[in-house]
């Protein structure tokens, strides 16, 4: 199964363990013990973990794009087909592994799902220690 690694994040101290700062709560294991609270959390967790929408190119887009960056960089763009074409070609030049035969399906997928007239993406916020 594909394991998203887009929110892996390294601590300042290289000796410290790599913290998975995924948008899932650090309290989640506790919450998972109780089914009901978990169900309540589900919509929130989904809202905080930008995932890519379904489509024929999804699996290949995930593999090629999320190797270097997370999905949030993709989902916040609002571009027409010409602009997406430029972006895809730039990323191929910069090392994204996209088979020539898949290029057009990448452009179609991205321009269909992230067009100029779509409303802006709501991005999550980091925890606010002081306000707890």
């Amino acid at each position: 199964m594909f394991k998203p690694k887009e929110f892996r994040y390294c601590e300042t101290d290289p000796a410290a363990p790599v913290r998975d700062s995924s948008y899932a709560s650090k309290e989640l294991p506790k919450a998972a013990l109780l089914v009901f609270p978990l169900l309540l959390l589900m919509p929130l967790l989904r809202a905080q973990s930008p995932d890519l929408p379904p489509g024929p190119a999804l699996a290949k887009v995930r593999t090629a794009c999320l190797e270097c960056h997370d999905a949030s960089i993709i989902v916040q763009q609002r571009l027409n087909k010409a602009a997406w074409t430029k972006e895809v070609d730039k990323m191929i030049k910069w090392g994204a592994l996209v088979e020539a035969v898949d290029r057009d399906s990448f452009i179609d997928y991205l321009s269909t799902n992230f067009p100029p007239d779509k409303s802006p993406e709501e991005m999550p916020r980091t925890a606010s220690m002081k306000r707890r």
């Binding site: 690694k5 887009e6 929110f7 892996r8 994040y9 390294c10 601590e11 300042t12 290289p14 913290r19 700062s21 995924s22 948008y23 899932a24 709560s25 650090k26 309290e27 989640l28 959390l41 929130l44 967790l45 905080q48 190797e67 270097c68 960056h69 997370d70 949030s72 960089i73 916040q76 763009q77 609002r78 571009l79 027409n80 602009a83 430029k86 972006e87 030049k93 910069w94 090392g95 994204a96 100029p116 802006p120 993406e121 991005m123 999550p124 916020r125 980091t126 925890a127 606010s128 220690m129 002081k130 306000r131 707890r132």
Partner: protein, 388 residues
């Protein structure tokens, strides 16, 4: 002129008076928010690479606390940073190439500059038509006290040859795939300015990892991209560096064209100093205010120039009145401003802020469109609804 204490009181009062605390603030306290050590309540534009935006309502303090200071990364942050083994090399067009460690830097005379650092792409999200890139809104900007030795003292020790015209910075960020490394250069005149630093401290503490520990260049008044984090190499060049992040990256059209039209790369120039700009911190766009007594607060900056005035319109730009500037000021640093207003009646209003600087530059109604959305500085506006 109001005192700092009064100003702050008014600023904090403004939020309460306006009743305009955005609902996201409550949401941010939720335990399910992403945890990034050292970062508080920041908008996550990207987690990998890490790009964090300061929420507009935090833009009300003259010095931005480090946990609220925006983070911009093009690449992965260095996976290891060991202050003991860290070295800075100075080479290229110099008489005596140098290799320095952190203790060597600490022995040099320390200088402090209070600088407003803004990402060139701040406000990109407002460009029409949309342009690709991190969709920053108002908060890829912050002000901090940066301290460290002057770059010119290091260059003097190395002895710049007469052929040395530009100074290149290279950091330890890790480049994925075939992405070109983030290398840029600045002209020798700016590099030897007495305020250009190799900063080791930010707000009197050692730089945090996200802000370039253990040392970064700090090119005051210029776009953030001029200041290189995790600095490891300084190279004096006989000409401007010509890598990706100098061309086609970080360039601005010589003449404004029609929005959306292609820009000829030969008719562009490298972006250096910041434009004149102000943003409204509170009230928030789309907020409903319960009182007709409203304080409008924000910040204004102008790169290497000073802010001369900030004007506010509460009638969609039909008339303008001066805002009161905060007392704290320093070359390269933004000014806080505040404006007390009584809405004549309940209803919908468009509030606007417009800054003018010491060079006579005033924010335009429409920013110059460019394909990467750099230097967005259109007059800021928020729409509010007054209930009472």
């Amino acid at each position: 002129m109001i005192s700092r204490r009064d100003f702050l009181k008014r600023v904090s009062g403004a939020v309460a008076t306006a009743g305009a605390i955005p609902p996201l603030l409550t949401w941010a306290t939720d335990d399910s928010s992403p945890q990034i050590p050292g970062e508080e309540g920041m908008i996550v534009r990207s987690a990998r690479f890490l790009d964090l935006e300061t929420p507009q309502e935090f833009l009300t303090s003259w010095i931005t606390p480090v946990p609220h200071f925006f983070v911009r990364n093009h690449m992965h942050e260095p996976s290891t940073l060991d202050p003991r083994s860290w070295r800075l090399t100075i080479g290229g067009e110099v008489e005596k190439p140098l290799t320095l460690n952190l203790a060597d830097l600490a022995k040099l005379e320390k200088h402090t500059v209070t600088n407003t650092l803004e990402c060139a792409g701040n406000g990109r999200a407002f460009q029409q038509p949309h342009v690709p890139g991190i969709q920053w809104q108002k908060g890829a900007v912050g002000t901090a006290r940066f301290s460290g030795p002057r770059l010119r003292d290091l260059l003097q020790r190395a002895g710049v040859k007469p052929t040395g015209k530009h100074v290149m910075f290279h950091g330890l960020d890790e480049v994925p795939g075939k992405v070109p490394p983030f290398i840029r250069s600045i002209p020798i005149e700016k590099a030897t300015d007495s305020d250009t630093l190799i900063a080791t401290h930010m707000n009197d503490l050692p730089l945090s990892k996200h802000h370039g520990f253990p040392a970064r260049s700090l090119v005051p008044g210029w776009i953030g991209a001029a200041s290189c984090k995790w600095l490891s190499e300084i190279k004096v060049l006989d000409k401007e560096f010509d890598g990706n992040f100098m061309k086609p990256g970080y360039r601005f059209p010589n003449q404004a064209g029609k929005p959306g039209d292609p820009v000829n790369p030969d008719e562009t120039h490298v972006i250096t100093a910041l434009s004149v700009k102000s943003v409204i911190a509170t009230p928030a766009d789309g907020s409903t205010l319960r009182s007709r007594s409203i304080r409008i607060d924000g910040v204004a900056w102008a790169g290497e120039a000073d802010i001369a005035r900030v004007e506010i319109s509460t009638d969609s730009g039909a008339s303008w009145k001066p805002a009161q500037l905060g007392r704290e000021q320093s070359k390269y640093a933004w000014r806080l401003w505040t404006f007390a207003w009584k809405a004549p009646k309940a209803g919908d209003y468009t509030l606007m802020a417009r800054a003018t600087d010491s060079l006579g530059r005033t924010q335009p109604e429409t920013a110059v469109w460019n394909p990467s959305g750099y230097l967005y500085n259109a007059i800021d506006q928020v729409k509010i609804h007054v209930q009472a």
